[in-house]
Symmetry: C2
Subunit: 337 residues, 2 copies
Amino acid sequence: MHQTTIIDIARQLGISKSTVSRALTAHPNVNAKTRQRVLELAEKLDYQRNQLAISLLTNQTHTIGIMVPEFISFFFPKVIIGAQEELAKSGYNVIICHSNESYETEVANAKALLASRVDGLIVSHTKETRNFDHFMTFQRKGIPVVFFNRVCEAMNVSNVTVDDYNGAFQAVEHLIKTGRKRIAHLAGPDTLANSRNRLNGYRDALTAYGLPIDPELVIAYDLNLDKANIYVNHLLNLPNPPDALFAMNDPTALEALSVAKHRGLSVPDDLAIVGFSDDPISALIEPGLTTVSQPVDELGQQAGQVLLRQLSTKEDGFVPERIVLPTNLIIRGSTVN
Amino acid sequence: MHQTTIIDIARQLGISKSTVSRALTAHPNVNAKTRQRVLELAEKLDYQRNQLAISLLTNQTHTIGIMVPEFISFFFPKVIIGAQEELAKSGYNVIICHSNESYETEVANAKALLASRVDGLIVSHTKETRNFDHFMTFQRKGIPVVFFNRVCEAMNVSNVTVDDYNGAFQAVEHLIKTGRKRIAHLAGPDTLANSRNRLNGYRDALTAYGLPIDPELVIAYDLNLDKANIYVNHLLNLPNPPDALFAMNDPTALEALSVAKHRGLSVPDDLAIVGFSDDPISALIEPGLTTVSQPVDELGQQAGQVLLRQLSTKEDGFVPERIVLPTNLIIRGSTVN
DNA sequence: CTGTTAGCGCATTCAA
DNA sequence: TTGAATGCGCTAACAG
């Protein structure tokens, strides 16, 4: 099957392909009538410019790669949409890759994006990622990289995150102020910067209010929901069980809520629970889940904007931006009656 | 910033670019030692093949476009992942476009995908789409198109859907068998084939059991959740209100559930509610939502497989496939105690 | 205003 | 086993 090219149009019109090209690209130096004829024939022949050829020539694809670890949860799709909207304003398209939390897939995706010659990269890495070489390759080739949510602090690149530390601090502070003394934390894996920051917020809040940090009450896990169940039960089976739980994310918190219900515990009286992210489900269930909300749309928009700024900056003038968006504690029935 | 090319490698090694190309593509006719040297230098120089150049040359991009109306709900992301997995097995990458339920954006996306020279298209159209010219263009150019979920019955292309008709029939049958006499239906817009099929299933179930079809109880709307609220209240305000509601999808049903609660109605006693899709929320909420589940992962996998088959078929041997996957009624507390 | 020429990076003939 | 030449579709000098 042959796709119409400018040569087809040129031949049929008895003019040169340069003129066709100029007519099609709104170049000023074309006779109005000629342009008219070209445009009409192009329309008639279903002509579509071949972006591959243009990209090869201009060395830019106007395409941005977005890499996320998953997009089943509400979070990443929303961020993607936010970024996409910003990028679209400047004429950039987007290729979305999800690595299914697999480091190997992430590396493979990075290669594919490199081969596709994306002009930039927006990324949140997998929980398995400890080696960031595949991202550094982009940097070395002069392709701007912006991390969001799960960032690589060791790389000299722009970041967009939320204030995980303060979000966690406030969550724990709220639990303390409502009378809880033994607050457990189901943390994320230490490969994730946000998980480390939330853990620090948790610790510092306890310390700030003179409560001890009991290592028994802090469990870092791989965010695999099947295991959340086990860990929550483990905590509740302790001789001196917690009276509150601060979870790394809402799905984990919801799992805890379910376990508590099954054990006949009253939430929030026997066990108060706080999550992180404000998943839409959290407002719908009974009791509602107290949680730290983050400005998800804005996260994506900012990531897009930062990348656009970088794209329009000469390489030698590059200064990485570190944007931190505020979080907001949303109090619901899982912590107060 | 200059990206390494085969010419760079050729020059540094004092050989021709043809030989480099052959070494890099595992061509048989290359001296083993030469290949070794090429591979090593390529690695050292961070060489990445330029897919643009190859695609331009071979006239295939190994890229498939996936167009969906949105990906905030759980449904489309899951389908996308299913399709992507299948396509990846055959070395195809994926570009995902979401049109935000806007016809104009959909048309623009179609053009972009055409310009990017995708090898195939998997698509679920927007609820605004009445004109399918932008999809027919793909067909005319010999680019295979597979519709899923929201299909265009007028086009001679492959489809992958679920059995919307029977799903709806069984849902309504279940309501009838549990004693409901006045069953309302909050339908989707008639632009969507699945919405029309579900409506037919609803009607036929009523007829099959000798119940009248009361036009007052059937409301087709644009699936904009803000309006669901209004329509549910309208139905419940009728002089002779319904005792059951079959909704086009789960979000609508959940909205109805919320309205019923606000009005102090008991679900399922005063109003039984059935949704469609088995959104993860439906199992978590109180009472659980009875709903028609569809095999979402399989939907995507099948769409991918159908497209792959088409891709490997000579054009003249093309026969469109119409795949219909089974649905399954999941009974929860919103219809039975 | 228009045509000619060159070249983006690569795979693939055809010769050697 | 290797090299030289060709062309994929297009834009951008350059020359008329």
